[in-house]
């Protein structure tokens, strides 16, 4: 079965783009933490497997106020951005455990489809709040777009990197429960840009991370307003009922932290 899979091992970003092509029949493997169990248990039999371990996408660059994260960067290295984007560093250190953080990649986390029982893609939250730009390749070649748009249409795209402008302040609040082991039930990220704009995003509230636009625009209780931005569902980690009560609390905590940082 996987014996018949064509294994592609690009040695550079260009090779990766070339071998990905238009993405037809290609399964991308970043660190392997999400995809490899699917192969092991026979749930996924790729025609082509594109392994990014040697593709040189594990970059982290600063250019002025712009930070660019390669899709192949191991999640744990986001700790290096503690001064640039506290929420992103904190979120990263909350993912899984020491070993999985070193093996999993930013791209793998951001592009993860929802799991069968629980949401994935914790890093989508802070990156959405940072209004990160996703550069990807696929049919029609390269394009750059806001992460929000990329998440809505990422089929057939290979994420290459994510860029954002350093904010004035950022904050992260999550429900962390031992019983959910490595998974985050619910998390909110917030950013205040250098121009004073406030952005909010949440994970664990829908199929993938979402911006809380209505909460951002609300005048009164932005915590409660956030409920209009999300589509809560029961899953293996928690009920919609519970998340409905917890979301406004996390939003308020994030906003309070952002204010303190003023």
């Amino acid at each position: 079965m996987t014996q018949a899979t064509e294994v592609l091992l690009p040695a550079s970003p260009d090779e990766a783009s070339e071998q990905f092509g238009d993405g037809d029949d290609v399964t991308v493997i970043g660190g392997g933490t999400i995809v490899v169990p699917e192969l092991t248990h026979g749930r996924l039999v790729p025609k082509k497997a594109l392994l990014l371990s040697r593709a040189g996408l594990d970059t982290l660059a600063h250019q002025g106020d712009t930070v660019t994260i390669g899709a192949g960067l191991p999640v744990h290295r986001l700790a290096e951005l503690a001064d640039d984007a506290q929420a992103l560093a904190e979120c990263a250190l909350n993912v899984a455990d020491y070993e999985v953080r070193r093996q999993g990649t930013v791209g793998g986390n951001v592009c993860a489809q929802p799991g069968p029982d629980a949401p994935r893609g914790d890093l989508q939250g802070p990156l959405l709040a940072l209004d990160a730009v996703a550069r990807s390749t696929g049919a029609g070649g390269e394009r750059s777009e806001p992460l929000e748009d990329f998440l809505a249409s990422r089929d057939g795209r290979l994420l290459l990197d994510l860029s954002f402008e350093r904010p004035a302040a950022s904050a992260f609040a999550a429900l962390r429960y031992p019983h959910t082991h490595a998974y985050t039930v619910l998390a909110v990220s917030g950013v205040r840009t250098t121009s004073g704009e406030t952005r909010l995003a949440a994970t664990g509230v829908a199929e993938h991370g979402v911006r809380l636009h209505r909460a951002e625009g609300a005048v009164d209780d932005r915590g409660v307003a956030a409920l209009a931005d999300v589509e809560l569902a029961d899953d293996a980690l928690a009920s919609a009922w519970y998340r409905e009560r917890a979301l406004p609390v996390l939003v308020r905590r994030v906003l309070a932290t952002l204010e303190e940082a003023a």
């Binding site: 079965m1 996987t2 014996q3 248990h41 026979g42």
Partner: protein
């Protein structure tokens, strides 16, 4: 005695830390085949059209087994304790829990085995499942077991485990208050780090060598022998190295099926469960439903206990009647209650059959009893340590099943707890010991149950 009180290293300690301990999955026998199972996707269904021909014809597949291959399809694992057989080794005509094994494939590698399972044909017709033990007694509940919805084979063909002692009616009549509570602990998964696994090797001399993770080596040997119709001297079981069991590895979950596949294929056969199978299909500690009503006096004496227990056995009986029996013996816990009315039922549901787990049958009623003692203290406005110390088992007191206590530990343990929590007991309580009741500690209602511990 040199070992008692000494801090001895584990005899297998060096093996563990050098990676040399050989668990079943570490045993290497050339030619070993991998096994995968077709399992029921439904909680409750009838099936027909079971067709293994395509699987059998697949290159790399050495054997496929169904219920037809099992010489004795149903064997009561605890028939020696009077629990008759009710569970087929492999499903025949119907499935009663999600994950129930229907057919098994032994193949050259894991991927081929998985593909062969996919190729087995079957037509299932789902039925309404029964998943809530409380509903089992309703007239319109689905009937899910050949014995009815609850176990009917306690001694004297009784359909419940009963304990009667003294007069519960008198106790209720004399009580100042009745304190009630309902306790419903949920199922618990053992989650051993090593999943269920066995390796069976057919030897040239006609014997089968069974590498097993069982916690109960001779017991499992007997189960395999019974299903296969083999004398015990045809089996050699290699075991004793268990990667965590906690009660869940007494079920002989894989050995018999591997033995059948080994016989049919003539090759060594291994079946190692995935973690998903371990979570979804392996037996758990049972969920329970316990209703307790205690007749109490305003100064904290418990005159009588009326109790109803429903034990969720899952789809088959397995060890549940035994667990419920132990539960019944301990239903007053660490305390002496002279008037008792206990009814316990082993109830069937369309869930994975439940099994032993540390303290089988008793942890549930300990939880209920201790919570209830605190509830009594709360309702009466009394100190929870004092309520426990008054009613504590003492020398000469008798248990629900008339065992005489000769050395009960309740009093010293409760006092130690108070000490550990920095709670200062009132002087008369701090002075209490476990000695035979007398004076204020021997109220009228406890006289009749007192026995002479020297006589026993």
């Amino acid at each position: 005695m040199k070992a008692v009180g000494a801090r001895l290293p584990r005899y297998d300690g060096i093996e563990h830390v050098t990676g040399r301990t050989q668990y079943v999955d570490d045993v290497r026998v050339p030619g070993t085949l991998w096994t995968k199972a077709l399992r029921s996707p439904a909680h409750s269904a009838t099936f027909d059209g079971l067709d293994t021909s395509k699987a059998e014809a697949m290159p790399g597949v050495h054997a496929v087994i169904t219920w037809k291959d099992v010489p004795l399809l149903e064997y009561g694992h605890l028939s020696a304790l009077g629990i008759p057989a009710d569970e087929p080794l492999l499903a025949k005509d119907e499935v009663r829990y999600k994950g129930q094994p229907i057919a098994l494939v032994a193949a050259e590698d894991e991927e081929t085995a998985m593909a062969a399972v996919e190729a087995i044909g079957i037509e299932l017709e789902e039925r309404e499942p029964l998943l809530d033990i409380r509903r089992a007694f309703d007239d319109d509940a689905p009937k899910i077991h050949q014995w009815g919805n609850w176990y009917p084979h306690f001694e004297g063909e009784m359909d419940c485990r009963q304990i009667r002692k003294g007069s519960i009616d008198d106790a209720f009549a004399q009580a100042d208050t009745i304190v009630q509570g309902v306790y419903r602990p949920a199922a618990i998964e053992h989650v051993p780090l090593e999943t269920q696994v066995s390796l069976v090797v057919p030897e040239a001399n006609g014997r089968l060598t069974i590498y097993s993770c069982t916690q109960a080596l001779y017991f499992s040997m007997g189960v395999v022998a019974a299903h296969l119709g083999l004398p015990l001297n045809k089996l050699k079981v290699v075991g004793g190295t268990v990667g965590g069991g906690f009660g869940g590895k007494v079920d002989t979950a894989t050995e018999t099926m591997c033995a059948l596949l080994a016989q049919k294929s003539g090759r060594p056969v291994k079946w190692r469960w995935t973690r998903e199978e371990e979570f979804l299909c392996s037996s758990t500690r049972a969920p329970w439903h316990m209703e307790v009503a205690d007749a109490v006096t305003k100064d904290g004496w418990i005159l009588g206990r009326k109790m109803l227990t429903l034990h969720d056995s899952g789809a088959y009986a397995r060890f549940s009647p035994y667990g419920l029996t132990k539960h019944s013996f301990h239903h007053t816990g660490a305390y002496t209650i002279p008037n008792l009315h206990f009814d316990g039922y082993v109830v069937f549901t369309n869930r994975v059959p439940t099994t032993a787990m540390r303290g089988f049958g008793v942890t549930s009623v300990s939880f209920a009893t201790e919570t209830h003692m605190s509830r009594i203290a709360d309702v009466l406005g009394l100190d929870p340590y004092e309520v426990r110390l008054k009613n504590a088992n003492r020398i000469g007191d008798t248990s629900p099943n008339r065992i005489v206590y000769t050395d009960p530990s309740t009093v010293p343990v409760v006092k130690a707890l108070a000490g550990g929590m920095d709670v200062e007991l009132a002087p008369e309580y701090a002075a209490m010991g476990p000695g035979q009741r007398e004076g204020d500690l021997l109220p009228e209602h406890l006289v009749a149950q007192l026995a002479d511990p020297e006589d026993h």
